[in-house]
Point group: C2
Chain length 328, copies 2
Amino acid sequence: MSANTTSAEDKLIARYFAPLATHPGALGLSDDAAFIKPPPGCDLVLKADAIVGGIHFFNDDPAGTIAAKALRINLSDLAAKGATPLGFLLSLALPKDIGEPWLAAFTQGLREDAATYKCPLFGGDTVRSPGPVMVSVAMVGHVPDGMMVRRAGAKAGDRVFVTGTIGDSALGLGLRNGAAWPLDEAQRAHLADRYLLPRPRNALAEAVLHYASAAMDVSDGLAGDLAKLCRVSDVAAAIDAARVPLSDAAKAVLAADPAALETALTGGDDYEILCTVAPAKVDRFRVAAMAAKVAVTDIGTIAAGEGAQFRDAQGELLSFARAAFSHF
Amino acid sequence: MSANTTSAEDKLIARYFAPLATHPGALGLSDDAAFIKPPPGCDLVLKADAIVGGIHFFNDDPAGTIAAKALRINLSDLAAKGATPLGFLLSLALPKDIGEPWLAAFTQGLREDAATYKCPLFGGDTVRSPGPVMVSVAMVGHVPDGMMVRRAGAKAGDRVFVTGTIGDSALGLGLRNGAAWPLDEAQRAHLADRYLLPRPRNALAEAVLHYASAAMDVSDGLAGDLAKLCRVSDVAAAIDAARVPLSDAAKAVLAADPAALETALTGGDDYEILCTVAPAKVDRFRVAAMAAKVAVTDIGTIAAGEGAQFRDAQGELLSFARAAFSHF
């Protein structure tokens, strides 16, 4: 443990973090805590998620994308709940060898996303880590009174939708770990980028709020996450694997290595929205998604029963060695 | 990175953390996020602070006290702002060798404090740490509309108060690090306990809310924290060091080792409230503190000017090699 005459931590906060604290109640990070007036008629939506060097990102990833990932995995949860971000708290644990250039890039990444997603820094702290970098974000959002979209709520007959494409991040991680798939430069870059930088679907939050019967974000793999949604909704899902939306890069991987389908469907880190929509609301949901410029794909049906089943184009049931990604 | 068929993390959450999520909006931790209805007519008060093994606690400290410390350092900030806790989010990073007995003790400590301070778990996550244990807490509290007590607000003529006793935790850390002070068993136990387990003064929050002109919690040492309060309030403070409240154990240390006064006044981890009170409100503040059963001591005066000066019983100015504790 070390000590200084005037706190180096205070200087670091003033220089790198205070500019992100644009909410007046954050008091420029000069106080012990921030205060915010909750929007009238709203429930607050609260979420915390951390990422750790060597586990959720590579220690040599660009600092700006590490910051963005930490923020975006939480933004993705808010989007899936139909919530609008208000701001976030940050706890940052830094090893001794982290210098100011890293911190400047990290806070620049954080600042850009805070502006893009209208999600200012409310406060937090920076501590010394004897291990890797750890970034813990706690996010506060809001929904109209009583309207947070839950995982429980899917009904027999509902359609199952996912946003964007599935599997890119897990395949991108595969590439980082040395997988030798025959891809061109653009395909490699696409998958690598999706691992580095999630694209949370906050633009779809309002459509989810109005039209989804149940929703969650896909972070631990589509198959496992859908199984969780089915469990708490007390329903079954029948998914047509051929309709799961894939990027051109992912299709190229699967053409060369069909077994990688399991990685795509169970690998995780997608940060897409998985939701169920009653048949009567499907058209309005699609129109709202189009207006929000978020691709949504109908991949199957909710039915009575239990479990999430994926079938291939021949109607054969797919079975996965691992249903969901877990660090434990 | 490892993976399992059904998530071991989910089982761990259901077994150890879900029982702490007593707020109905936490949905038993079965969803992506929690929702809470903010109390009417209130501002939310938000704070995040993390502790790291080897930095803020010893890796062999009892797991229950590590949990309690993580919660209490945040509760202390809320108390100093005059705020009442609503609940907290937790991000927990655990090394591979942490077993279920540790986790059971950790969550038991968390559960007891969540009950004592009426501060339930709203959600969070548990991740793998390749380094030490890291516990990051984000806390949500509330104050009546516009009434969060700030660091800025001290006025010339105000009295300076602190709660409890100062320096016990820093001296307790000194003992842990091998200081050979001639103390009896009870004195050693007292100091060691104060390092392990802060006593946040949430019972005083309402008195602070009504009577303090400025307040903060003492976490980085009384001298440095008072200097910060003076800086943002644009005032000076004159402190009578002989009136700074010390425990019998701390007095015994100082009798044997007068130089340890600097450790007591600058060492940090006190988690007491430092506040300023206008002369006209001092009597009511004292009555409210007595009703709350929190000891408060008048240690000096706010004046025009800048800087926080400590003088000894002979009127000599004390100077400190380090004004405030910093991990950087």
